[in-house]
């Protein structure tokens, strides 16, 4: 990732300030440690014995930011309170940039961090991010300023779960024992015939899962947790998916919870489920199958859920429980994650998440990735019955050749009841519909055992996996990403070409031609891979 020279200079200045602040914080932390033997703050967390990952980094998530996110959740805000993303005009000098932020500083702006060519500015006083952005945008050196919006996972929970079966099914391809009974979605798009052409894709292709994380290592970490009556130091186990080989992970990165060097842990199960649709181990006589089962997965964690908030509350000594419905994916983290994936070899990015705020930062990050040859698949949104608001980044898909927003169909190939509609829907894929199909109509993949991460537990664990039935456009998007991975494995390098092929070969559903419910229609992997002959 390159950065303008003036931005680097400015960052050097900030680094000096940050270093000073860190020394002061460290001194304060030492004093606190003398007062209490147990880990009580996030600074102490780094000193908690770790059985597996002694070198794991500090937490990126601060108590302050967690509080902002909790406030956003409690008040139904679509942005992080007190955070704005600012892009300065080309040619704006370091001094001019500093002046703009200094102007804000008089209104108590406290921090600034660069994400590509965009600065994340934080204020401790002006919590209305729209007002904060407006104040920044008034400066002539600012190209745009916007609230740091939030995306959410909008999961449509089903509660369907079953252990993963063992034992290959003879004379069946794939031989995964739960395939025939559960994965109607792959048959619905003719995937077995597509596998004849591209059996699972190629390991040279990397798919970034920008989501709640996909656990890429195993170990135990100790977190301080509120149990309802007291705090306990809880050893929390985490492990990789038993049906997704750890050797297939590449360059995992967490942009919201752990700092660089820390593990990437999926504490929700959403990211693991999405990754499994793309790439779950297949023909291994165990569990379920994935679409592109030879490609590699880049876990990029940009979303926080209930347990992340509980851990940070515990470390900060805050009693009580977090909002169980909390899921927060700051656009700043999305933008960082997208750029990171593009810079580190990902060819496809899947983003099964969405918010309602328009963001130039997010759109610029998408453009950056597509320009680097990355295809982006996005969920179209699950808001059909809750106002059908336009979702972002899904909306931006139509502005780029090489990014697509997917709607969801159920087992009967009708639009799923929750699936958002709009002109930005470009393609449809199976996402499941429990209302019309019950447990047999949802998308089954292996993921973190859902009872283990239930918010009503006092102590979670992230080291056990089972088959879980999810539904949502979150599940549709990885079908598109998986198909893109198969296409890129066959040598299609341009994201725009991938989109063009997926569009051309889609099976038209609903109104003739492109429509707001299904876009161009249901993906047809076999037709996309087979191409056209002469006649």
């Amino acid at each position: 990732m390159t950065m303008p020279e003036h931005a680097r200079d400015f960052r050097s200045l900030r680094a000096l300030v940050t270093l000073t602040a860190a020394i002061l914080l460290l001194a304060a932390g030492t004093q606190e440690a003398e007062q209490s033997a147990g880990p009580q703050t996030r600074a102490d967390l780094g000193q908690v014995p770790r059985l597996q990952s002694a070198s794991a980094g500090q937490l990126r998530l601060t108590a302050d930011r967690a509080a902002r996110l909790a406030r956003a959740s409690a008040e139904g805000l679509d942005y992080v309170p007190g955070e704005a993303l600012v892009k300065f005009r080309a040619g704006a000098s370091v001094a001019v940039q500093a002046q703009a932020v200094d102007g804000l500083a008089r209104r108590d702006a406290t921090g600034m961090r660069w994400i590509g060519d965009v600065a994340l500015v934080t204020s401790d006083v002006e919590m209305d991010a729209r007002a904060l952005a407006a104040a920044l945008a008034a400066d002539p050196s600012v190209e745009y300023a916007e609230p740091n919006y939030l995306a959410r996972l909008d999961p449509v929970a089903t509660g369907y779960a079953a252990p993963l079966s063992g034992g290959a099914v003879p004379n069946l391809v794939p031989n995964d024992p739960d395939y025939a009974s559960r994965q109607w979605n792959f048959d619905a798009i003719g995937l077995p015939r597509a596998w004849d052409i591209s059996p699972g894709g190629d390991s040279s292709v990397i798919v970034a899962i920008v989501d709640t994380g996909v656990t890429a290592s195993a170990g135990t970490m100790t977190f301080r947790l509120w149990t309802g009556s007291s705090f306990v130091d809880a050893p929390i186990a985490y492990a990789t998916n038993t049906d997704l080989s750890a050797s297939r992970f590449v360059a995992p990165m967490d942009f919201v919870f752990f700092d660089a060097g820390g593990p990437v842990i999926d504490m929700d199960g959403h990211g693991s489920h999405v990754a499994a649709t793309v790439a779950e181990d297949t023909n291994n006589g165990f569990g379920l199958a994935g679409i592109a089962y030879n490609v590699r997965i880049m876990p990029v964690k940009v979303c926080l859920g209930y347990w992340e908030f509980m851990f940070i509350r515990g470390e900060d000594g805050v009693t009580g429980f977090a909002n169980p419905d909390t899921s927060s994916c700051p656009f700043s983290a999305l933008a960082e994650g997208i750029r990171y994936a593009a810079d580190n070899g990902a060819r496809i990015i899947n983003m099964s998440l969405g918010g309602t705020g328009q963001s130039n930062t997010l759109r610029d990050a998408m453009r950056y990735a597509i320009d680097k040859g990355v295809f982006i698949s996005m969920s179209g949104g699950n808001r059909a019955e809750t106002g059908n608001q336009v979702g972002y980044p899904a909306f931006y898909g139509q502005q780029f050749g090489g990014a697509m927003a997917a709607s969801s169909v159920g087992r009967n190939l009708a639009k799923a009841y929750y699936s958002s509609t709009g002109s930005y829907i470009e393609i449809a894929a199976p996402g499941g519909d429990a209302r019309s199909g019950g447990s047999g109509g949802v998308i089954w993949q292996s993921t973190v055992r859902q009872p283990d991460v239930n918010p009503f537990l006092t102590m979670p664990r992230f080291d056990r996996y089972e088959g879980s039935g999810f539904q949502g456009t979150s599940m549709a998007a990885p079908h598109v990403a998986g198909l893109a991975a198969l296409l890129m494995s066959r040598g299609i390098t341009s994201p725009a070409h991938v989109e063009g092929i997926i569009t051309q070969t889609a099976r038209d559903l609903g109104a003739s031609g492109k429509d707001d419910e299904f876009g161009h229609g249901l993906i047809q992997p076999r037709a996309a891979l087979f191409g056209l002959g002469i006649r």
Partner: protein, 229 residues
């Protein structure tokens, strides 16, 4: 217009032009020098020949997208029977094969998906024409004609399933003109230009549909070598 088509056109023009010139009286009076050469080949006769065709396909964008070329080379054979005053009937066949890869057209660009495809085009010609010798020696003969085509078209791909491959026959028409020369006793060689049209053969669902090309014909330059009697 591709060079081959231009060449073909020139040959066709030449084919028709030469008989006209042959009928034009000489500009200056010449002394009689023996009996006048007949303008038709007398009696009946036959010719049997092998052919080598260079065919420029009408569906050029389609074939270029899949095969990476717009023309094919064919080999075949044929025969003619001259039955009355230079009129003849002809039957001939030829076959051409090529391999390419399946593809899409996206934003005007051809995107190969890397799946091999083999195509075979085999026209059968039934035609009638007229031959006219030139010069006193009658070694040089120009001819022209036209007739029907029945073209076998076969397309096969790796990974093809039921209904993916094509093996069909289509009808069309063709016209031709050429000149041949006796090179040794009954052995002759010739060059011929053909125009072929086989409409509605392509464009069903393949890449030809993307280019709105439906004609399996084209223009051909044909080399003939054979014997006559």
């Amino acid at each position: 217009m591709p060079a081959t088509r231009v060449l073909a056109l020139l040959v066709v023009c030449a084919g028709f032009a030469v008989p006209s010139l042959a009928q034009t009286p000489p500009a200056a009076p010449r002394a009689p020098s023996g009996p006048r050469a007949p303008r038709v080949e007398p009696g009946t006769g036959y010719r049997a020949f092998v052919v080598f065709d260079h065919v420029s396909l009408a569906a050029s964008e389609t074939f270029d997208a899949i095969l990476g070329k717009t023309s094919l080379t064919a080999m075949g054979a044929g025969g003619e029977y001259r039955f009355w005053k230079g009129l003849f009937v002809r039957g001939a066949f030829s076959t051409m094969k090529a391999t390419g890869t399946r593809a899409f057209v996206v934003q005007g660009q051809v995107v190969s998906v890397g799946i091999p495809l083999e195509v075979e085009i085999a026209p059968v010609e039934l035609a009638a024409g007229w031959r006219m010798p030139l010069g006193r020696s009658q070694r040089l003969v120009v001819y022209g004609g036209g007739g029907l085509l029945s073209v076998k078209y076969r397309e096969a791909s790796d990974f093809a399933g039921s209904g993916d491959d094509t093996d069909s026959r289509f009808s069309g028409r063709h016209a031709f003109a050429g000149v041949d020369v006796r090179v040794w006793q009954r052995v002759f060689a010739g060059v011929e230009a053909q125009y072929r049209t086989v409409p509605d053969a392509l464009g069903e669902r393949g890449i030809a549909k993307e280019f709105s090309e439906d004609d399996l014909g084209g223009t051909a330059i044909r080399i003939l070598v054979g014997v006559r009697r």
